[in-house]
Assembly symmetry: C2
Homo-oligomer: 335 residues x 2
């Protein structure tokens, strides 16, 4: 009592009503006399009463907590998404419980989801950018509200995603528009849907321009792998434009090009993806594509909440368009 604070019955006693009436006030039930409602509110304030979420969760079978499963919350994208999700959830009165996971393999994901389920979360958001995550998701009890972000477009699971294809197309087109005859691509890991989408968009833009796409160079999102690819690109005199799957890869490429004395954008133009806050201060400032993480978070949460309220598990799909941010890393090719 002393330690755990007052309970509903204490409020009821002080207000001179039954605990059930207090419950009704708390849950905004209509049939409570205005005067009673005020008395209860006053008692709540006086005692500093705070409803016990565990008890509520026990009886309703659902808590006011949303579980998020993500892999590497240190990467800029996932971190931004998580923060946005948390903000949005808080506005709706939900807490967010993170379950990060070392690998996005089947077992790790299941384990994280299990942990969330055992806490009886109201719903789960899975940031599942790779193939292997999909399997784990299909075996889930299907009465659990679930939304995937950046997941597999081919699976029948509610999905919110940044329009990778459109973003990549815009980036590539921007380079073509500047006069480049073709655009090379440093991609992310090919088992990530994000990567696949960005490769697709890049390829589409080239094909639409009647250009045969060169082979994409696979990276792993890190500046280190961008650097390695950059070392190769720097040695190829015909390369004048590069689109990298994220800004960190671009940083590595910029560094390699700089070391080889190839000037950006004079000799080679570079475009990234993500618009990390530092991108404007790369040398030179990086032209990139900015996904709207807030919009993604809002859409995911809205989708999740509608499932929670309706009880039905719709298989919706929502896509958020990213925007090109032009800076100084792009210029027309020298002739």
């Amino acid at each position: 009592m002393a330690v755990h604070g007052p309970a509903m019955t204490d409020v009821a006693r002080l207000a001179g009503v039954s605990h059930q009436t207090v419950s009704r006030v708390l849950n905004g039930h209509p049939n409570v006399r205005e005067q009673t409602r005020l008395r209860v509110r006053a008692a709540i304030a006086e005692l500093g009463y705070r409803p016990n979420g565990a008890a509520r969760a026990l009886v309703t079978g659902r808590s006011q907590v949303i579980g998020v499963v993500a892999q590497n919350t240190t990467l800029y994208g996932p971190a931004s998404l998580l923060a946005a999700l948390e903000q949005t959830a808080a506005e709706e009165g939900f807490a967010v419980s993170v379950g990060s996971v070392r690998n996005l393999d089947h077992r790790s994901i299941s384990a994280a989801v299990e942990r969330h389920l055992s806490h009886r979360v109201a719903g789960i958001v899975v940031i599942a950018p790779v193939e292997s995550a999909g399997e784990a998701l299909e075996r889930l009890p299907k009465d659990v509200p679930l939304v995937t972000v950046d997941g597999d477009p081919s699976r029948p699971v509610p999905l919110v995603t940044v329009d990778q294809v459109a973003g990549a197309r815009a980036a590539t087109q921007h380079l073509l528009d500047a006069g480049h005859r073709t655009v090379w691509h440093v991609s992310g890991p090919t088992d990530w849907f994000d990567s696949v989408g960005r490769i697709d968009g890049w390829r589409q833009a080239l094909l639409a321009a009647g250009v045969d796409p060169p082979p994409p160079m696979p990276g792993d999102w890190s500046a280190a792998s961008g650097y390695r690819c950059g070392q190769m690109l720097a040695r190829m005199p015909e390369v004048t434009a590069v689109f990298t799957a994220n800004d960190h890869l671009a940083l590595g490429v910029l560094r390699a090009l700089h070391e080889f004395g190839r000037r950006v954008p004079d000799e080679i133009s570079v475009v990234g993806f993500d618009d990390v806050p530092e991108a404007a201060y790369f040398i030179p400032p990086l032209t990139t594509v900015r996904p709207d993480f807030d919009a993604v978070a809002r859409a995911s949460l809205q989708m999740l909440l509608s499932q929670i309220e309706s009880g039905t598990g719709g298989a919706l799909r929502q896509t958020v368009a990213p925007a090109l941010v032009a800076r100084q890393s792009v210029a027309p090719p020298r002739r």
Copy 2:
């Protein structure tokens, strides 16, 4: 039943024991016959039983959840810390609930803490790098296990922190050792304890070398503010060495110096702080100080768990030493 999965009584029935015995097996109570234990385990596996955390939390008064309050989980430091915290907590069987907060003022912090308390978290970790957070923390119910990270060293609250002073001293000393006569400093926001500590360490190293510290230039952690400071530094011919309070500031400085044609490290040496993964790919690769976020997370959690178990609220203090990572952004001054 069907929707919410089997309960303890279902397991008990299948195993031919009472639900209390199941509870004992689950909680590792010693006095259970080996044979019984196995039978119960088998039943649990067969039914896919998952204990109900809400019910457990209700009766014990504590959930297996740790609340984290942080401001900007998009910044590299907090994000890394959060991820490490989550990993460590998961190993101990705890989930982590994030409560991010727009501002670290008194009211926002209290609100976030309230939200956690209403979910009956077992303990709270506050990543509270600024002064204003301290007040909010002192009014908390003192029976809640609490640990602050990077908080106010002068308050009687359990605290884990990176040794900012030692890190900054090492960075500054490294520059002095290279032969520089003095070292300039681009600091973080001065209401952050991290910044204060780094300023202190820098100043200490200079004073110990018999040098009068130049005025620190205040930034706000962002590359943008680093760039602004860099523009000033670039115009000052006497500057040969700069220590920035984090790597993003350093990036901004590097960019400004580059624009002004001042070469790093030939004319000016730069050292950062944080060792973000990209720092090795800046132009030139950045010498920096690497805090051990995993160690901080482990220490915080251990401190929190010992409070949870013992019930006592010790006012411990623990400091984690960072390590200097030497790269190519430092060289002896030209003479």
